[in-house]
């Protein structure tokens, strides 16, 4: 699986494979004081070491990614909006390359985008909007929404584009498998630390049972967190 460079040129796309499920990760960095903690992304994530060697892609540690973010915000004066738009667009592009509409059963292909409570969720909102423009039919589940203009605006953009927001998450993996051909995990980024609180603990449990492919933005949500109890979603 080849590495892909995000459109921004600064994020690094990491791709690995596991059985028939292809999980595509797109590293996109943002900062903010609440984002970073001491949690290191540990090797609870199972990487194919041969893939790592052949792609010659550098994998950022959490500290390195934090430093990149700080530099982008403080020195380069990028805004969160800017980088989030580029990140979401490049995620949608990567997903569309990995799962082109012509390779999917439905026309338009149905995609469930699950957005978490922070910036990773924001990436998911941008991604969903671009997937719609690319000819997919996204649906969003966004249970915990920050009350900030950035996020409310992104929600409005999606709503105005007739992207439905689910009132509740299907509780059975089979239901999701039947309705959607692809799931985008935009729940947690790698600033995440500590306990996985509800409703996300239950959501991750459901995602673990899926047979349809999952594309994770930034990291597979919950990876490296002992409490979750599995290696990656």
């Amino acid at each position: 699986m080849s590495g892909l460079r995000a459109l921004l040129g600064l994020g690094l796309l990491v791709a690995g494979s596991r059985l028939q499920r292809i999980t595509t990760q797109i590293s996109a960095c943002r900062s903010g004081p609440t984002w970073w903690g001491p949690q290191r992304l540990n090797s609870g994530v199972r990487w194919n070491s041969e893939v790592m060697a052949s792609t010659a892609v550098k994998y950022l540690s959490q500290e390195e990614a934090q430093a990149v973010d700080q530099e982008l915000f403080n020195e380069y004066q990028f805004s969160v909006d800017q980088l989030m738009e580029l990140a979401g667009l490049s995620c949608a592009t990567a997903i569309a390359k990995a799962y082109p509409p012509t390779s999917m059963s439905r026309s338009p292909p149905t995609v469930l985008v699950i957005c978490g409570p922070g910036n990773n969720g924001g990436d998911g909102l941008v991604c969903a909007r671009h997937l719609k423009l690319f000819g997919y039919q996204p649906t969003i589940y966004y249970p915990k929404r920050p009350n900030k203009p950035l996020f409310t605006a992104l929600v409005t953009q999606c709503q105005k584009m007739d992207i439905p927001f689910l009132g509740e998450m299907p509780s059975e993996p089979m239901v999701i498998d039947e309705l959607y051909e692809l799931v985008v995990d935009a729940i947690f980024g790698f600033s995440f630390k500590g306990d996985v609180r509800e409703p996300f603990h239950s959501i991750l449990r459901v995602l673990k049972g899926l047979t349809v492919p999952i594309a994770s933005i930034d990291i597979p949500s919950g990876a490296g967190t002992q409490k979750v109890g599995w290696e990656w979603v």
Partner: protein, 249 residues
């Protein structure tokens, strides 16, 4: 297929391929006010797509080292901001942009976009030679991001006006963003005396004056207009394929 130039009140709705200046402003207002897009978002998407359009018209592998050098001339308004974003993405795409941005806007968006370019080591010229041969020799192509639709020539300042006069004599390729700077956005008048770009990159949708464009490539760039808005303005654009943000007209 209609390719009428200039206003045509009897144009059937489904054949509309151009926006008037007023309609372009109304479309932007709808995106900003109803859809709650941020200006920075749209400028970033337009600038990125403009850079992609440049790569399609002038693919990097086919260019010599000198041909990869791009002069981006930025005016003080939104068109100039798009130019700053375009320059940054060209840099990421491994072209070698240089910026001439003589009349600087004070607004935060322009200032931050300028900082981003400076920090990426994109040089800013302090003056532009009036001798066009110097530009022809130094650069492989020029991007005109001086004036968008609705901007009066007197608003851009002396240095930009002088730059445009020099660019009219250019022999290397010229890429204009949205409209050729100095053209009347409605009628395309001054298209005879004004800039004659080789490539026109229409942002979101072509403006009326694009009917008078007679250069090599015409692209529409900036894939963010929702279907409902296209319908509302009765716009019919060429289809974007796959994940492309640029479509050839």
């Amino acid at each position: 297929m209609s390719s009428a130039a200039g206003p045509d009140p009897s144009e059937a709705p489904e054949e509309r391929r151009f926006l008037s200046t007023a309609e372009a402003a109304a479309l932007e207002r709808e995106l900003l006010e109803d859809y709650r897009f941020g200006r920075q978002q749209l400028v970033e998407l337009c600038g990125h797509a403009s850079a992609v359009a440049v790569t399609k018209a002038f693919p990097l592998p086919a260019l010599s080292r000198k041909q990869r050098t791009v002069l981006v001339v930025c005016g003080p308004e939104q068109n100039g901001a798009v130019g700053l974003v375009c320059a940054r993405h060209l840099r990421v795409f491994e072209y070698e942009p240089t910026i001439f941005y003589p009349t600087r806007s004070l607004d935060l968006l322009h200032r931050d976009l300028t900082t981003q370019c400076e920090k990426m080591d994109i040089p800013f010229l302090s003056y532009l030679p009036t001798e066009v041969q110097l530009i022809n020799e130094a650069y492989g192509l020029v991007v005109d991001a001086v004036m968008g639709p609705g901007v009066e020539p007197r608003e851009v300042g002396g240095p930009c006006t002088r730059a445009l006069a020099t660019l009219k004599l250019l022999s290397i390729p010229l890429v204009s963003l949205d409209i050729p700077s100095g053209w009347d956005a409605e009628t395309g008048s001054d298209s005879e005396d004004g800039l004659r770009p080789d490539v026109l990159v229409s942002l979101a949708a072509p403006k009326r004056c694009a009917g008078r464009f007679s250069g090599r490539h015409h692209f529409v760039a900036g894939r963010f207009v929702p279907d409902d808005v296209l319908r509302k303005f009765a716009l019919r654009l060429p289809g974007y394929t796959g994940t492309d943000c640029v479509a050839a007209l």
